[in-house]
Symmetry: C2
Subunit: 229 residues, 2 copies
DNA sequence: CAGTGGTCTAGACCACCGG
DNA sequence: CGGTGGTCTAGACCACTGT
């Protein structure tokens, strides 16, 4: 009878969800559970530690382990590249460049990315289609302070997102989601009426403390982002 | 010179983000790294295992450990109770019940929650205010099959969300986010014009395979959900 | 088949913090 | 202060899977 840390996790999770151990309740110590399950303390430790990471338990030295009084609800969303997202739907992906120009970084962007006055940026506007219909409109600003080589890039066939992904693969990201009424540009790009409600993501990316890019992604009307937890 | 699993994580993470180890690159085996850092294999194992969970590494038996070719971007959002969310902003929370009535579950809800024909539900509509201004409009359906005791509850002062949280604290949830134009009811409850873009969450909750509740939460215009990763 | 990661063990020392 | 969780060790066996 093998007692793995997964068995113990399942056992404890079961007791919590079925109500045997109510929110706030104190669980037995690791040593006692190890004896009860006939395994090493390290095994119990891993089980409980992971359940704590998942938000079901609260652990404190000396105080012991308790069922979280207020369930910590945490949802995880995968943020795939647009092309992957579209192809995962079984649709044909197409990329269309609308415009690409070097400009002086506007004030709001300098504030947002902490850029110096006079900083310059590359602004790229493009659309991602799924089966020929607009799926996502992208309005991106790339800091030419951090990535001067972006000037020489040709974004006619490769999206700026894909290029950045291979140039700066691992970076720090701040992302936020909201709803906006489509402005004239977005309405044109997505083929909808002005004012229609759009799901919009905003993402700022940093690498080693330096701002890389800021992007606004407006999704086609009706888009939903879904997950379980 | 203490080498903890955190040190090793930081070390490896650094090599990945600074580009020394590029996407797809093969890392040394656990045994070699253990020797290199002068620690036990278990310590290296924990460091690498956690980095894999975080999406930076890909591990396969026999094949070894590699830097993920395509960074797995995963964002985590906390989903607090509305009251906590509002009070965390430093605002005063207020709850207002708009209506509460027992009804036959409409077809779309029966499909959504897998309810039997003729199933009955409690429909509760309410508003959550922050500093006196509407923050979130809630339109909730509670399955009376699963929770007949909801019939006798008085939701005049306690929100249905808070009651459910203490009645069924740990459940399975499916959640999705999108943008909608405010309908007449939502416009009235949130004090905005019809058609204004609203950020909307939909949540279906299950407990031991049985549907508990379905809720639509429409946030005040301009609301954004933010995180880092 | 053989090499890699996955997991368990028995024991140890330590840091934190509640009583 | 002393009990609890946090972490490390040295060793072992096993499961998967590429070659």
């Amino acid at each position: 009878m093998a007692t793995t840390f997964r068995d113990i996790k399942a056992e404890i999770r079961g007791r919590i969800t079925d109500g045997s151990w109510k929110p706030g309740a104190l669980l037995p110590g690791e040593l006692e559970l190890a004896e009860r399950y006939g395994c090493a303390r390290a095994t119990v430790n891993r089980a409980m530690r992971e359940l704590a990471e998942e938000g079901l338990l609260e652990r404190k030295r000396k105080a012991g382990t308790r069922v979280r009084a207020t369930p910590l609800r945490e949802a995880r969303f995968e943020i795939p590249a647009v092309q992957d997202e579209i192809e995962a739907l079984g649709a044909v992906y197409r990329y269309r460049l609308i415009s690409c120009a070097e400009v002086a970084a506007p004030g709001w962007l300098r504030v947002r990315l902490d850029l110096a006055e006079g900083a310059r940026a590359l602004r790229v506007v493009c659309v991602h289609d799924a089966d020929g219909a607009p799926y996502q409109a992208e309005d991106r600003w790339i800091s030419l302070t951090a990535l001067p080589e972006a000037r020489t890039m040709d974004f006619a066939n490769v999206g700026p997102g894909a290029w950045l992904l291979e140039t700066v693969p691992y970076s720090d990201v701040e992302i936020s989601f909201g709803a906006v009424g489509a402005d004239g540009t977005q309405a044109g790009l997505l083929g909808c009426a002005e004012g229609v409600a759009l799901f919009q993501a905003e993402r700022a990316t940093w690498w080693q403390g330096q701002a890389i890019t800021y992007v606004r992604l407006a999704f086609r009307p009706g888009y939903r982002m879904t997950t379980r937890y």
